[in-house]
Symmetry: C2
Subunit: 185 residues, 2 copies
């Protein structure tokens, strides 16, 4: 399968759109491959030419979104005042709030372990790059940068997961500020 073939690109785009479309309506667990294929206007067998399974499809469809989150997280300066979260972090939580249902479906109990792993991984990588690039919270030189990045990536995805999963989610501004205070240590 040549991934650059315009036919293949079109098909993948359709599949990505279809799964996101369906995920807006129901839990991942109750979406079938047959359904995705139908929605995408593609033969069921064709799906498997592009993605080994549902998890891979879902995760791939979220790639852009996740990259956005990771980039925003890595952009946060550490020297912002304790009572005012930096702009990128505010944007990050607003981004999630605007897609709360989607993130709940992805990160919730019915969600995709692959997606969760991928999201943490991207965050970790982005933060680690930022850290080894020099700008990093002080006083942790005796902790491996990679581990520090993982710690924060876990904390962030944990908070997001808990946030979007809750019954009556708190306002974004509130969570953002609380997270920022915890992060600033």
């Amino acid at each position: 399968m040549n991934p650059d073939d315009p036919r293949a690109q079109r098909t993948r785009a359709r599949l990505r759109a279809a799964i996101l479309d369906l995920a807006a309506d129901k839990e991942l667990g109750s979406i079938t491959m047959a359904e995705v294929a139908r929605r995408a206007g593609v033969n069921r067998a064709t799906v498997y030419l592009h993605f080994p399974d549902m998890d891979a499809l879902v995760t791939d469809a979220m790639e852009e979104t996740v990259a956005q989150v990771a980039r925003a997280a890595a952009l946060c300066p550490r020297d912002a005042p304790r009572d005012r979260a930096p702009e990128p972090l505010v944007g990050l939580f607003e981004h999630v709030a605007a897609r709360a249902t989607l993130y709940r479906r992805m990160l919730g109990a019915q969600g995709s372990a692959l997606f969760a792993a991928r999201m943490r991984e991207r965050l970790t990588a982005e933060l680690a790059t930022r850290f080894t690039g020099g700008s990093r919270p002080e006083g942790f030189d005796d902790v491996p940068a990679e581990l520090h990045a993982t710690y924060l990536a876990g904390a962030l995805t944990g908070v997001i997961s808990h946030w979007v999963t809750g019954e009556r989610p708190a306002p974004a501004a509130e969570v953002t500020l609380a997270f920022w205070r915890l992060f600033r240590a």
Copy 2:
């Protein structure tokens, strides 16, 4: 279904043992219900009398183990010296190290989203209880205790996940100390 019926208890115990047994050999994704039933010496249909699906079975089978981790985490005093992790935390990481394969199967990309959610949930609950019970890191009174607990629960599961997933995992003592330093902020 009466959960106290000795027949039911015996069957559930067999199923829990069977899934943990199988999980030692292969990824969760390649274990079938039929396989679990066979291994447990139980009819396939019987499994569904106790657990709605594989995720539920796996998560239930890990309940004790997860509770152990959550308890250990909540027991950590915050005033231990920066260069020496408190005993409960050491025990926690050793516990995970001794079951690294199992945790990798549970928390990895092929793992169970339900299990991951449950583990974070238990950790959050245990820490939140501890926090509202008075003993809590200072300087965070302006952050909801529940959110603080979630932050740490996410960080811990994130680190564990990353740790057991890595190719050549670092020694437990190393990770323990690094985590402790990050936690102490």
